[in-house]
């Protein structure tokens, strides 16, 4: 039995909760404002209703810190970006949501406690604390991954899927069990998004709108889809590793740019003609990485007997990944794959508000400011998921 109405809305006359969510764990700064209607039937419900809150999204604003091609984003520059934009975005969000008196109207302020990059996380937490003190509104610290999961569940209404969480900073396969989002499989080194981002840097392609998106475009332009460039395939049990593939494909790209004719993979032995293009490399990289992700997802599905998959995180917006996952789900159990669009699968403030509000409604909010210390390492299964059966 889960009582999602453990904490009532601030104003008893109001029949809804209003939450402000702040996200800044990487280079995206997101501010979201959401509304959960107060539904008496969700109190002490036997069923798990937390994926069906009838959420209304009042504002979803994001500004991404984009670096020039060939460069990645550094913590201190990212933090500076967040500090520059945070107040502006919050003001704009409040306006868009029609919130005139934050102090009176907001039930809770939710912010990303972790995991992520230290300085950016810290900048946003600072703003959250300040607003909380200023407006006398309670605070909730949210796990970034749980934010993605809860947003995905709410948008797609997927009841109990296996979750593939793939972003620049994370790659995990998660299944819910007994109040925890348990990690079944994960990367042993870098995240898949990170792998794609770094390859994009090697290729010196633009970082706007996102490096991964540009790799996806190049891959789709590949004219030679029958022949793949052979890359290492590194699934290890339920986990996977990507640093080896990255190192190898980086070296291929460099050889290609330098015109290193000695490389037989790239250049014809006799004529010296180029056999492989940048598009081919992007296509092969995607096919390889995504096949590995789908494989470990399938393993988790078999383990827990699930027939649905939910993909969350920035890399989840990739159409090819969604397509491959759908094929696997269908073949496995006539199941289906759920995915959200770029508004929600890329880091945003709304997801933090969603997870945070669920936490708040169960009574888990910050009692002392010392609890709001951010942390770069914050495993998904450390969170006690009180809002599910």
């Amino acid at each position: 039995m889960v009582d999602l109405n453990t904490v009532s809305p601030k104003d008893p006359a109001k029949r809804y909760y209003l939450a402000l969510g702040l996200e800044g764990s990487a280079n995206k700064l997101g501010v979201g404002i959401i509304k959960h209607p107060f539904l008496p039937e969700t109190g002490a419900a036997a069923k798990d209703n937390s994926h069906d809150c009838h959420v209304e999204i009042l504002a979803n604003i994001r500004d991404t810190y984009v670096t020039p091609p060939g460069e990645g984003f550094l913590p201190r520059d990212t933090a500076r970006h967040h500090r520059n934009w945070c107040v502006r975005l919050i003001k704009r969000a409040l306006l868009e949501a029609g919130v005139r008196d934050a102090c009176a109207e907001l039930d809770v302020i939710c912010f990303t406690r972790g995991p992520g990059m230290g300085a950016p996380l810290h900048s946003v937490a600072l703003v959250a604390r300040t607003c909380s003190l200023m407006w006398q509104v309670p605070l909730v610290g949210v796990n970034h991954c749980v934010g993605h999961i809860e947003m995905g569940r709410e948008i797609t209404k997927a009841k109990n899927p296996v979750v593939l969480y793939v972003s620049g900073g994370n790659t995990q396969v998660i299944a819910y069990s007994d109040h925890r989002y348990r990690i079944f499989g994960e990367t042993l080194d870098v995240a898949v998004g990170n792998c794609l981002d770094r390859f994009a840097r090697t290729l010196k392609i633009p970082n706007a709108p996102s490096p991964g998106y540009n790799i996806e475009q190049l891959a789709s332009q590949c004219k030679n889809k029958e022949t793949l460039v052979e890359l290492p395939y590194t699934v290890k049990g339920m986990d996977l590793s990507m640093s080896g593939i990255l190192a190898y494909i980086d070296s291929l790209a460099k050889d290609l740019f330098r015109g290193n004719k000695a490389n037989k993979v790239l250049f014809d032995k006799k004529t010296g003609n180029t056999k492989v293009t940048v598009e081919d490399l992007c296509y092969s990289l995607q096919e390889n990485l995504f096949a590995m992700l789908v494989e470990i997802t399938e393993r988790a599905m078999a383990h827990v007997n699930a027939d649905q998959v939910l993909i969350v995180g920035g890399v989840g917006s990739n159409a090819r990944l969604q397509e491959m996952m759908a094929l696997m789900c269908h073949d496995r159990a006539r199941g289906r794959v759920h995915a959200t669009d770029e508004r929600f699968c890329i880091d945003n403030g709304v997801m933090i508000a969603q997870a945070g509000l669920l936490q708040y409604r169960m009574g888990n909010y910050v009692k002392d400011l010392s609890e709001t210390v951010v942390t770069q390492k914050f495993r998904t299964d450390e969170v006690y998921v009180s809002w599910r059966n």
């Binding site: 990059m117 491959m324 996952m325």
Partner: protein, 265 residues
């Protein structure tokens, strides 16, 4: 979905080889058949059963990845079984045939039906069978010591199983009255590994499996398994003791943090 896969297998094993599905994992589908792939049907093969482990073609991945991976995994498992069969005292299924181009492995069928309808003779069912009346009897203790012994041999020789659940330990009747010989099966996730971490994870997965299905008696059961396991290392003198201590320490760490390493952001 399994009908389509079974259809694929039937196409190339032909109607001469009747197959019965017995399990369907993420990566492979397992069948039994009464027909040996190359020995003639006579007294030695009549009444016998064999296992066909098939890795189906996966539509979602690019055909060249699919072919390469299926072949690599099939050969990898065959190679592992071959190496393990050379280890004195270690009991694993015999490799009968390796049909790499079709992703098929033919293996020895191990185990039998337990009495009183208790099911197939894997460790899980065996422990269930004894749970009602004699959970701590001699035969249970002896069997679990031997289970530990098998895992000990595996790890001492620097191999890991990769999926050590109580369903992957099959008991075969031994010559001794009432005795059982544990055999490890399904090395699809197995590998050569000298890393304490991997071995710790092997032990942890089995410990969890026993706890989740036989929680009441799990403590004793796991203790016996570790006892049998430790004996293998202890026979190797000082070096063995040192390795054992290191391994058990890591096992405790894995237990504490639950299998996974801490994340980096």
């Amino acid at each position: 979905m399994s009908e389509e896969i079974t259809g694929q297998v039937r196409t190339y094993v032909t109607d001469n080889i009747p197959i019965t599905l017995i399990s369907q994992g993420a990566e492979a589908v397992v069948y039994t058949t009464p027909i040996h792939p190359y020995l003639p049907i006579d007294d030695s093969t009549k009444g016998e059963k064999y296992i066909i482990k098939y890795r189906p073609h996966k539509r979602y991945r690019h055909p060249s990845i699919d072919q390469a991976l299926t072949k690599h995994r099939t050969v990898g498992e065959a190679r592992l079984l071959s190496k393990l069969s050379q280890i004195e005292g270690l009991q694993v299924p015999k490799l009968i045939a390796c049909d790499v181009y079709n992703g098929c492995l033919w293996l020895e069928f191990l185990g039998q039906d337990l009495p009183q309808g208790a099911g197939f003779s894997n460790l899980k069912n065996f422990l269930w069978m004894h749970a009602a009346n004699d959970p701590y009897s001699n035969v249970v203790r002896e069997t679990l010591l031997k289970v530990g012994h098998q895992i000990g041999l595996l790890h001492w020789n620097n191999y890991t199983h990769g999926d050590l659940t109580s369903s992957n330990i099959v008991l075969v009747r031994s010559q001794i009255v009432d005795g059982w010989e544990p055999h490890l099966i399904d090395f699809g996730l197995g590998s050569v590994s000298s890393m304490v971490e991997d071995k710790g994870v092997d032990l942890y997965v089995l410990e969890r499996a026993i706890m989740s299905t036989h929680s009441e008696f799990a403590d004793k059961y796991n203790a016996w398994i570790i006892e049998g396991f430790s004996n293998v290392y202890k026979l190797q003198g000082k070096a063995g003791q040192k390795k054992l201590d290191e391994l058990l320490k890591r096992f405790a760490e894995v237990r504490m943090r639950g299998r996974k390493r801490t994340m980096i952001g």
